[in-house]
């Protein structure tokens, strides 16, 4: 029964689409494929950029002057890489990287060929953002942790990263949204995606409705990402994402725990 309702809903949406955006309806398969390509580029490039950016950003904070493990060579190297790649406009980076992408990934076209340039386009920006987020962790906390005998790794994994989680979520959201923007340019290397769909099928054929729908879809994705980021960042502020209740045997702690939870809400 449920299935039939969903089915009918789909039919209804299709009908509406047909009247609102007849041209898009004509290319609905292509549209779905483009959406899929965008999504694939987004999560694959995003995941890689997330990991590399986090590492690079942490490296920048840790090795800079006054950092917990000052290392001018590593810092200047990382800093230069970030600066150079940040100053290249993405569309040029995309073309510039073609031979290298081909050498490393095997192909420089389609989604597979777009991921590497997307990572290169995102990582520098994200590293800077991570650097800012981690720099926001108060010096005093680092000092306290050092006084308790934490070494470099302890400081990174027990103080810098956990304390910066809300800020990291915020900067990750910003980066994710900018990454969506970058994926639309990946059409230049034939990766498809909503961007090239909007240009090739909408703009070039003067089908305004296609362009409009693409804009709306990207807008919705952006709004979802932003509110997800805001919500998570708020949730993690001054507390863990999920409070793990430790099974404590001391009777004293149990009522206190519930008290503090009511105090929170």
């Amino acid at each position: 029964m449920n299935k039939s309702i969903i089915y009918q809903l789909n039919i209804w949406i299709a009908e509406q689409l047909k009247t609102i955006a007849p041209n898009l309806y004509k290319y609905k398969v292509k549209f779905a494929e483009s959406g899929e390509a965008t999504l694939e580029m987004f999560w694959k490039a995003g995941l890689i950029a997330f990991v590399i950016g986090l590492i690079l950003g942490t490296l920048l904070v840790v090795t800079k002057r006054g950092g917990i493990r000052r290392n001018p060579i590593v810092y200047h190297l990382a800093n230069t890489i970030v600066n150079v790649f940040r100053s290249i406009p993405f569309i040029i980076l995309l073309i510039f990287l073609i031979p290298y992408t081909r050498a490393i990934v095997g192909t420089s076209i389609k989604v597979k060929g777009a991921i590497m340039p997307l990572v290169f386009g995102t990582v520098p920006f994200y590293s800077r953002q991570v650097e800012v987020a981690l720099s926001g962790v108060e010096e005093g906390k680092i000092e306290a942790a050092r006084s308790m005998g934490s070494g470099t790794l302890g400081l990174i994994f027990r103080v810098y990263l956990p304390e910066a989680v809300p800020a990291l979520i915020r900067v990750t959201t910003v980066t994710a949204i900018s990454l969506i923007g970058l994926t639309t340019m990946a059409g230049a290397v034939g990766a498809g995606g909503l961007g090239s769909f909007a240009i090739n099928y909408g703009q070039n054929q003067s089908y305004e409705d296609i362009v409009n729908v693409c804009v709306v879809v990207l807008l919705i994705v952006t709004i979802i990402l932003q509110s997800l980021g805001n919500g998570l960042s708020r949730l993690t502020f001054n507390r863990k994402l999920i409070t793990i209740r430790r099974g404590r045997k001391t009777g004293k702690a149990a009522p206190a725990a519930s008290e503090s939870i009511t105090a929170e809400s």
């Binding site: 108060e138 005093g140 906390k141 000092e143 306290a144 942790a145 050092r146 006084s147 308790m148 005998g149 934490s150 070494g151 470099t152 302890g154 027990r158 103080v159 956990p162 304390e163 989680v165 993690t236 001054n238 507390r239 863990k240 409070t243 430790r246 404590r248 001391t250 004293k252 702690a253 206190a256 725990a257 008290e259 503090s260 939870i261 105090a263 929170e264």
Partner: protein
């Protein structure tokens, strides 16, 4: 015992250099509460941060009970390499407060190390692990608490316990024990943002004590607290010192804090220790100008300086009169030395200010008054009082019209 010898530290900045520590030598007895007082920028913070190597002095020696001697050369810490190093015989990480990693093989590829090696005892660079072990044996609390905001009270206190070889159950027991000590058992699952300033500092104290250090460094721990919280934190620190026998090094810019709990105090100015001694002696008989200023700031008699500056009517004297400050110490507070002297030498005392207070159970009293009578007799009287442990300081003397300015301008 904590002993520092000839510590020097210079911060080089673009605008020039700041000499934060200049030839600082101190000896802090075990189990005592030792105060370090000074205005901001006096170097007191740098001094304590050097004790647990959060900051490296440029040169000097630091000897900390149980850790042996740390020698600082060109801003890098070195330890003695001896087979029966005191720290070496102690247990591993399971027993915090002991440097256990001293047996690592040595490579003399460091030029400084080689140079040091050539003359004198064999020294080797202190490894990061040794430094971390040292720090674990020294607790520290801060003005702004520095708790991890995204960890509960429990996790904050358990922070350093995770570096020890304790099971999670032992950690839990230890945390509960500490929360009991700081009287916050009901806040175990609270987040720092849900606590008041005083409560945060209590958590910070529990956290600093978690790994059973023998030394607790307190960097302006009460400066951000209201008077009530300050008092309760000071009481807690005193308790910790008495119950656990932990040496506390307390930095502050408030003389009241020193007065409340410290036994000995060092007064710092411009990176130097200008005066050092028992709190009672410092209060009874401050020498350096800055010490006088600090003492004045926390005692009723301190108002005198202000009155003198304002040239108050109250303190004006006529010819033949003398404005004096008399200080009596300890057992002599209760004696009628002054009236005896007045009777014997026939002078009058016009009382202006008087104060008596207890410092660590010892009474300390002072009187400011105007003496009138035959100047010769008054002088004899002052000498008599001095014999009887009443120190008299002539602040104004109409006879010679002399202001003993050296004691008074601040």
């Amino acid at each position: 015992m904590i002993e520092v010898q000839h510590l020097n530290k210079t911060f080089r900045q673009k605008g020039g250099q700041v000499e934060a520590l200049q030839d600082v030598s101190l000896c802090i007895p075990d189990g005592s509460i030792y105060g370090v007082i000074g205005y901001s920028g006096a170097g007191k913070s740098t001094l304590v941060r050097c004790l647990n190597l959060l900051e490296y002095p440029d040169s000097g020696k630091i000897r900390i009970g149980g850790f042996g001697e740390i020698t600082l050369i060109h801003g890098k810490p070195y330890v003695e390499r001896r087979k029966n190093h005191p720290a070496e015989s102690a247990g591993a990480d399971a027993e915090p407060g002991s440097a256990a990693e001293l047996t690592e093989p040595t490579e003399l590829n460091d030029p400084v190390e080689k140079a040091v090696h050539a003359d004198g005892p064999s020294l080797r660079k202190m490894t990061a692990r040794q430094q971390n072990t040292l720090r674990r044996g020294i607790g520290m609390i801060f003005q702004h608490f520095n708790l991890l905001d995204r960890s509960t009270v429990y996790d904050n206190i358990a922070y350093s316990l995770k570096y020890t070889k304790r099971s999670s159950r032992e950690i839990r027991e230890r945390v509960c024990e500490l929360l009991d000590l700081v009287n916050l058992s009901d806040k175990i699952d609270a987040y720092p943002s849900q606590l008041s300033g005083g409560q945060k500092q209590r958590v910070a104290i529990a956290r600093a004590l978690a790994a059973e250090p023998r030394i607790l460094l307190s960097d302006e721990a009460t400066s951000a607290l209201d008077p009530d919280a300050t008092e309760s934190i000071l009481n807690l620190l005193r308790d910790v010192n008495r119950k656990l026998g932990i040496t506390i090094v307390l930095i502050t810019h408030e003389m009241a804090v020193i007065k409340a709990i410290a036994e000995r105090v060092a007064v710092m100015e411009n990176g130097r220790v200008v005066e050092e001694g028992s709190v009672y002696d410092i209060f009874a008989n401050p020498q350096a100008k800055i010490t006088r200023k600090f003492v004045a700031s926390s005692s009723l008699l301190g108002r005198l300086e202000k009155l003198m500056d304002e040239d108050a009517e109250l303190l004006r004297i006529r010819p033949g009169e003398m404005l004096v400050r008399m200080v009596f110490e300890k057992e002599y507070v209760g004696q009628a030395v002054i009236t005896n002297a007045a009777r014997k030498f026939g002078f009058d005392l016009n009382l202006i200010l008087a104060n008596a207070e207890y410092l660590h159970g010892c009474p300390l009293g002072g009187i400011v008054g105007i003496l009138s009578g035959d100047p010769e007799k008054i002088r004899e009287g002052i000498a008599y009082m001095a014999e009887n442990h009443v120190r008299t300081e002539v602040l104004r003397d109409e006879q010679v019209d002399h202001l003993s300015a050296e004691h008074l301008d601040c």
